[in-house]
């Protein structure tokens, strides 16, 4: 005898941060909502895991900036424990004791850059101001559902006209700068403002994060801009650390879901979405359990949403061909360390505050280009770029007293290796990262108590991000805004009625922003009112 399937108003597939945001908004609107997560823990790419007693590893993502302010307010996240600590410093070590250390004071930063180049110190200010203005101009469009370019609906046509008018109404300096970001590489843009190699190296790294591009590839311009779109207390482009890592943030979201009456189930992988007559009916779990709902939301990436959870042969051919061409090509890895003490940087011995933010290892553009040359050849960089941080220097709850936890985001680590596979290359990657750190911080190896290596393959296996792409698809112009994940399907709906998408493969895209989760919820709630 089979029991009658459980019924919900809405089922969200995937308990990453976007699924949680979506579930919280739907619950808040009164829908009986269930969030299903395959792992034992919610958070997806934003989890904190105590792999060694007392050491909290941010297995994947590690910092916040793009969280949409509306979400914080609408979901009462502060009440549920949201606490983002601003980065105190940004440290950019060179070799031979050279370095740039930027802090909270703009004037002190001017002089720090001026040590290397007086004109760059001013150039950096000009660049930051221009970029801040561009971001300000784009922000409203980050927080609304983008128009559908393929639609003949008068409302959509009007939206497109509104967007066009908005863009032409912008001051020409802002508009031209915006165009630069689409047409030029991060390296080229920086060339206009900066001259010194070490200074450029510091600023350029945002242009390659998580993307299979060199800082001199055209696509890096937009990737760079994307990472400046967030803020901390209104400070453009500033980043912070959430209490207990990014997993601390998704725990806050989980509390919000539950506070609004939603339900979360972990260890509940979804095998497929159930639908007939073009209507969503519910889901089937990996263990065969069926659950019913007239709204099903996939918080997974586009590959999973369209090619795995449903049968692609039920979808329009042009959508499927778009998805087949959609680029994942993951190129990043993580190597996280439990440390017995803080690394020492020659010349700044004893300075612990230098680690209270990002430590940007990748001194110059040529260094990064060399790293990318390896990637292009199908191997991981022999001298990788590392975006690292030691959050335990400001958050004592991240590690046992006196000890530290270090997160290193590693580039490049292509998903497709020309030789060998990631299961055999995993520890070689760990060694390479450790050797690189040793080069900058002599004696580093002696501090290592434990290390966690997360290859692109591990990212894919653990949380389902296809080819380990950290953003659920490259942040290229061809895959953003009108086109995320495909033209005509950029408004959270799918060809199956009642089946929606809300993962990072939808607008505004990857990073811990919650934007996709929120906008999809607004779409769903709006559709229900019709």
């Amino acid at each position: 005898m089979t029991a009658k399937p459980e019924r919900f108003d809405a089922i969200v597939v995937g308990g990453g941060h976007n699924g949680l945001v979506n579930g919280a908004y739907l619950s808040r609107a009164g829908l009986k909502t269930l969030v299903l997560e395959r792992r034992h823990v919610v958070g997806g790419a934003a989890v904190t895991e105590e792999l060694v007693p007392g050491f909290r590893f941010t297995t994947f993502s590690y910092a916040l900036s793009l969280v949409r302010p509306d979400i914080v307010q609408d979901l009462d996240l502060v009440k549920h424990g949201m606490l983002v600590h601003p980065l105190v410093n940004t440290f950019h070590p060179g070799l031979d004791g050279e370095h740039i250390l930027l802090g909270a004071d703009a004037h002190a930063n001017y002089h720090e850059i001026a040590r290397h180049s007086v004109e760059d110190a001013e150039g950096a200010k000009d660049l930051s101001h221009r970029v801040a203005r561009v971001c300000r101009a784009l922000k409203p469009w980050m927080d609304r559902i983008p128009p559908n370019v393929l639609s003949s609906d008068p409302a959509e046509i009007a939206e497109l006209a509104e967007l066009r008018d908005y863009m032409t109404g912008l001051d020409s300096e802002v508009r031209e700068m915006m165009e630069r970001f689409v047409t030029a590489s991060a390296g080229e843009i920086l060339d206009e403002y900066l001259d010194h190699e070490l200074v450029k190296g510091l600023f350029v790294s945002s242009g390659i994060i998580g993307s299979k591009v060199s800082p001199r590839d055209r696509e890096s311009g937009l990737v760079w801009l994307f990472h400046k779109m967030g803020d901390f207390d209104g400070q453009p482009g500033a980043w912070g650390f959430h209490k207990n890592g990014n997993g601390g943030f998704t725990q806050v979201l989980a509390r919000a879901v539950e506070a609004f009456g939603g339900t979360i189930r972990t260890n509940a992988g979804v095998e497929r979405v159930l639908y007939d007559d073009g209507h969503a009916r519910g889901v089937e779990l990996e263990d065969g359990t069926r659950l019913e709902a007239e709204v099903v939301v996939s918080a997974l990436d586009p590959r999973q949403t369209f090619m795995r959870l449903v049968d692609p042969s039920d979808l329009p051919a042009d959508l499927v061909s778009h998805l087949e061409a959609y680029k994942f090509q993951g190129s990043a890895a993580k190597v996280n360390f439990a440390l017995s003490g803080l690394p020492r940087f020659p010349g700044l011995d004893g300075r612990e505050d230098i680690y209270q933010g990002f430590t940007n290892i990748g001194p110059t553009i040529p260094y990064l280009e060399e790293a990318f040359a390896d990637c292009r050849a199908g191997r991981f960089s022999r001298r990788p770029f590392l975006d690292s941080c030691i959050q335990s220097t400001i958050d004592p709850d991240m590690s046992p007293p006196g000890k530290h936890i270090m997160s290193c985001f590693v580039m490049y680590a292509p998903y497709h290796l020309a030789q060998g596979d990631w299961d055999t290359e995993r520890s070689n990657l760990g060694d390479t990262v450790q050797e690189t750190l040793e080069e900058f911080f002599p004696g580093f190896g002696d501090l290592v108590l434990h290390r966690e290596i997360v290859t692109p393959l591990d990212i894919e296996r653990l949380i389902g991000l296809t080819e380990g792409n950290i953003f659920a698809g490259e942040l290229f112009e061809s895959q953003l805004f009108f086109n995320r994940p495909a033209p005509g399907w950029n408004q959270y709906r799918t060809p199956i009625e009642g089946y929606y998408q809300c993962g990072s493969g939808t607008h505004p895209g990857g990073c811990v922003s919650g934007g996709p989760g929120r906008l999809a919820a607004l779409r769903i709630l709006d559709d229900r009112r019709r």
Partner: protein
């Protein structure tokens, strides 16, 4: 030449900014690092250390000392038993507040009181009226330095140095030793967080500072200046003399004076009918309560985040939120009906980075002090006055369970 506190040799080299301020004639750091937020977050996320030695300190001994306090202090000091501290205030005969402070009974019949401004002469004049000798109250300001250790890891740090905190109830006081120096430890503070304050003999100041710094090393113990403390105290709903109210003593007119009820301290008099004392200002306070003659009340004010954000973005600029704390007044108006219909003002304002919204401490007429009452707050956007929605909210804005939790060595 400014005076320096007993911790000066320790704090002086820590001040990376080189900026100093005067706190009642003492040299203090408004902030030590370039990042004020880093100091603020130490209070909320790890643990902070603040030198509050410029506070004036007084000692009262024996039955006469107690009798004097009973006469002067508006809040019932009888409830302040041995090993307890109490937040209190003292008033003039007309029931206007002279000052607030913390009184503690450190041993049987031995009281100490802190205050922001000198008050020996005031206490002495009452002493004489009561026919007591002058030494009933004694100034001990120079004898002690005071450190405030505040933040979620404050217990972890203090418990490495003394048993006195295990446990020490909220507003409890204990005598103890730290690094072989006698100290008084109280579970008090001005941040609304878990925290302790230590009274340290001036000659021991450096030794105890060093011990705390060493014990806090693993917990990101961060020396903080007065600015971070002031940000935290707005969230905690704690008033600051000279900012949120003025002493009646040096006011020119009553419009500058405030009663404890008007300051939102009516809770101090909840058991007034069980309190037989004839304290200064009692009659006036009783009459104010009975006749509801308060002119205003002091309340929390939450500025609507969307309205705040919109007011600035509409003008094409970013809403100011970063490390924004002001003590200047923001005028408040009644909504609807007349334009610019003045109602009151905010005496402190903070764009709270923790709470992610702008908040303030406000004075409003009684018909607008209900929780949820709406007013328009005046802000300036590119030099133009604009008003935006704000709502009355209960103080404190931030009140974590750890503030009062019994800490006894269990997991924090």
């Amino acid at each position: 030449m400014p005076k320096t506190t007993p911790f000066h040799s320790r704090v002086e080299p820590l001040n990376q900014t080189g900026i100093w301020k005067h706190w009642y004639g003492y040299l203090v750091a408004p902030q030590y690092q370039y990042s004020l937020n880093a100091e603020y977050y130490a209070i909320r996320n790890s643990v902070s250390l603040l030198d509050t030695s410029p506070l004036f300190k007084y000692r009262f001994a024996g039955d006469r000392g107690r009798a004097l306090l009973e006469r002067v202090l508006a809040r019932d000091v009888g409830a302040c038993r041995v090993g307890r501290a109490q937040y209190t205030c003292w008033c003039d005969e007309r029931g206007f507040v002279i000052q607030d402070g913390v009184v503690m009974q450190v041993a049987e019949g031995e009281y100490r009181l802190t205050s922001a401004e000198p008050t020996l002469r005031h206490f002495r004049s009452v002493t004489r009226q009561m026919g007591f000798p002058d030494d009933t109250v004694e100034e001990i300001s120079d004898d002690f330095g005071i450190l405030a250790l505040q933040g979620p890891h404050a217990y972890d740090v203090i418990s490495r140095l003394t048993e006195a905190a295990s446990p020490l109830k909220y507003f409890g006081v204990a005598q103890s030793t730290v690094a072989s120096c006698e100290v008084t430890v109280s579970r008090t503070g001005y941040t609304g967080d878990l925290g302790y304050e230590l009274w340290i003999r001036s000659e021991d100041a450096e030794t105890v500072w060093d011990a705390l710094a060493a014990a806090g090393k693993d917990y990101n113990l961060t020396p903080i200046g007065t600015s971070a403390m002031k940000m935290a105290r707005v969230e905690a709903g704690l008033l600051l003399l000279g900012v949120d109210f003025n002493t009646s003593r040096y006011a020119w007119v009553d419009a500058q004076r405030e009663t404890p009820i008007e300051l939102g301290w009516s809770w101090m008099f909840r058991k007034l009918d069980e309190d037989p004392r004839d304290f200064i200002g009692r009659r006036a306070i009783e009459a104010e309560i009975a006749n509801r003659t308060s002119r205003w009340n002091t309340v929390g004010l939450a500025v609507d985040w969307h309205a705040y954000e919109c007011a600035f973005t509409e003008s094409g600029i970013i809403p100011p939120m970063h490390e924004l704390y002001t003590e200047s007044t923001m005028s408040l108006y009644r909504r609807g009906g007349k334009q610019w219909d003045y109602a009151g003002y905010a005496s402190s304002f903070l764009a709270s980075t923790l709470l992610r919204r702008p908040i303030g401490i406000a004075k409003l007429p009684l018909d607008l002090t209900e929780e949820g009452s709406e007013v328009d707050a005046e802000i300036t956007v590119i030099r133009q006055p604009k008003y935006i929605l704000a709502r009355v909210e209960r103080l404190p804005f931030f009140n974590p369970p750890r503030k009062t939790a019994l800490m006894n060595g269990g997991a924090s």
